[in-house]
Amino acid sequence: MTTVKYWQAINRALHEEMARDDRVLVIGEDVADPGGPFGATKGLLEAFGPDRVRDTPISEAAIVGAALGAAMAGYRPVVEVMFLDFVTVAMDQVVNQAAKVSYMSAGNFAAPMVIRSICASGRRTGPQHSQNLEAWLAHVPGLKVVWGSTPADARGLLKAAIRDDGPVYVIESLVEWSTRGEVADEDEIVPIGVAAVRREGTDLTLVTWGGAAPRAARAVAQLEDVSVELIDLRTISPWDRETVLASVRRTGRLLVVHDAVVDFGVGAEIAATVATECFDELVAPVRRLGAPYAPAPFAPHLEAAYLPQPEDIVSAVLETIRTVRKAS
């Protein structure tokens, strides 16, 4: 075990995977010479050379598509689309092309590629740099979507993503960039599709991921009389239905917490699935907590009011616990 910062864990995963498999490439804006806009690709150029590590122009559609072409031709590119918001200029390549290549060619081609983006929500970057867009990506068949909230998960998921034979969208939390955590010395993979039960509990299942996960953990830590099972989804698509459903079957209550706008967010899928599958076990209505229906605001106190804070989460837990099904 070594203690590293979140970004260093990402950096380590990239170094390890590039050393392990020389088909792995890293391309993106500022990723080579500058070592990444925030350091995640430091040292890669020096270690693996300019063929495999390349700075690109600000041409997200072209670079995602170029990564796709290289993947179809046998390489395993990791392409950085700096902030998640910028995927909006590359959606065709992500959605119509990369995600569908295996299906459209009936397996004749695959797209073993990774797209990495920072989500800067919580870092006061304003409406065009703070969007939590995981729901869009999850709605696209063929695209896997992962988001580690700890250094170990950020590393392990990225490694798994690079080894996956299909396209994986890896989201990273800028707000956790300098958070430290332990990572294994050996080659630890966090399998895609497997949630982490951060804490076991019996009264309520709290499902969260990404930027909201650390805040949810803080909230749960404050709760004394309530036993919350805290699940960090880690993979948004395909999400770990079994773990979540089994948990709610035991606890009878679900709260989903995420930083995206509640409406039409990933929480809806989880809540709807649980409401259907655990219909007989639920003792309180499924509940979702997330951002209000508005773009992400810039000012620190506004952004704090916008994102679910530990105290909001505590209140939501307590209210859910208090709700009981009316006699029917």
Binding site: A62, A66, G69, S105, G107, D165
Partner: protein, 331 residues
């Protein structure tokens, strides 16, 4: 655009016939597909490249199986010229289990990894970045492969082309950009969609060598393609070829073409790349028309057989609808 004489550009008799054969395969495949569509046998939309065959044949004659191409909604010709199999293609148009994609993808999504067809594409401009990626892979692999992006004049207005021109030139990738300039984006003439219809000018602005050729003259196309691929294979970077050509049919089959006069279409058919090439074959290579008629007949049989085979295939299995959403098996 200067006229090219077949003999001067190193096209021998055998190659000349091969080029004809390729064009004829395309023409026959598409003519048949058009008829089948009109007869209600083929579903969906299909877009034919009849009149443009020389571009596909000429460019692909400069390529090997290990080279890559990406193409468009109007991509049958490129796929055939690159070695795509008629039976699997036709079966795909029919939506049968034996189609290239089990009938799930249709006319606009032919792909074949055995001959480097990275894929046709239903998004205008969508395939160009993939070809650039193929070029990046080729550069890394160092085996002298080339990657070709086919696209139309309409795609020139999509920003992604420009991103790709810049990237390919910047990285000196072995990519050939082939613009099939047929003067239309669907029903809109080029005068209404491009401020400058000289696509070569755009490439030149990136410092990229660019050449305009008569896209209905297969020797001219081949000559340009040979120069471009040689440059690419030698590590000297990308080239753009602008092939001026003629779309005889509507944008899609069934398009009533109200936006252009019958005379325009008639004039086009007078620039038939196949007729022209038959003349060259006769005049320059002494190939008797009867020999070519036999080629035509053989190809008609081949295409007919592809149709029969497709018709005989089972419909693709709805049970397999969710297969390959994720890749199956390790690569």
């Amino acid at each position: 655009m200067t006229a090219v004489r077949s003999q001067d550009v190193g096209v021998d008799r055998e190659l000349a016939i091969d080029l004809y054969r390729t064009m004829r395969r395309i023409r026959q495949f598409e003519t048949t597909a058009g008829e089948l569509f009109a007869a209600g046998e083929l579903p969906g939309f299909i877009h034919l490249s009849i009149g443009q065959e020389a571009v596909a044949a000429g460019v692909c004659a400069a390529l090997d199986d290990a080279d890559y191409i990406t193409t468009t909604h109007r991509g049958h010709g490129h796929c055939i010229a690159k070695g795509g199999r008629l039976r699997e293609m036709m079966a795909e148009l029919y939506g049968r289990e034996g189609g290239y994609a089990l009938g799930r993808s249709g006319s606009m999504h032919i792909a074949d990894n055995t001959v480097g067809i990275l894929g046709a594409n239903a998004i205008v401009g969508g395939g160009i970045p993939m070809a650039v990626g193929g070029g990046y892979a080729a550069q890394l692999a160092g085996r002298g492969q080339v990657s070709v992006a086919f696209f139309g004049d309409g795609a020139v207005a999509e920003g992604v082309l420009h991103e790709c021109l810049n990237l390919a030139e910047l990285w000196q990738l072995p990519v050939v950009f082939v613009c099939e300039h047929n003067g239309y984006a669907e029903m809109t003439p080029v005068s209404k969609h491009l401020a400058n219809a000289e696509v070569t000018d755009l490439a030149a602005a990136y410092g990229m060598p660019a050449e305009k050729v008569d896209g209905n003259d297969v020797a001219a196309v081949l000559t340009a393609a040979r120069a471009a691929t040689a440059r690419a294979r030698s590590g000297a970077g990308p080239t753009l070829i602008e092939a001026r050509t003629t779309r005889w049919r509507g944008h899609f089959e069934g398009d009533p073409q109200k936006y252009r006069a019958r005379e325009e279409i008639t004039a086009m058919t007078e620039r038939d790349p196949l007729t022209h090439w038959r003349d060259v074959l006769h005049a320059a290579h002494g190939v008797p028309p009867a020999e070519l008629d036999q080629v035509d007949a053989d190809i008609a049989d081949l295409v007919g057989a592809a149709v029969e085979a497709a018709r005989a295939m089972p419909l693709s299995d709805p049970g397999g609808l969710s297969r390959h959403v994720y890749p199956e098996g390790a690569r």
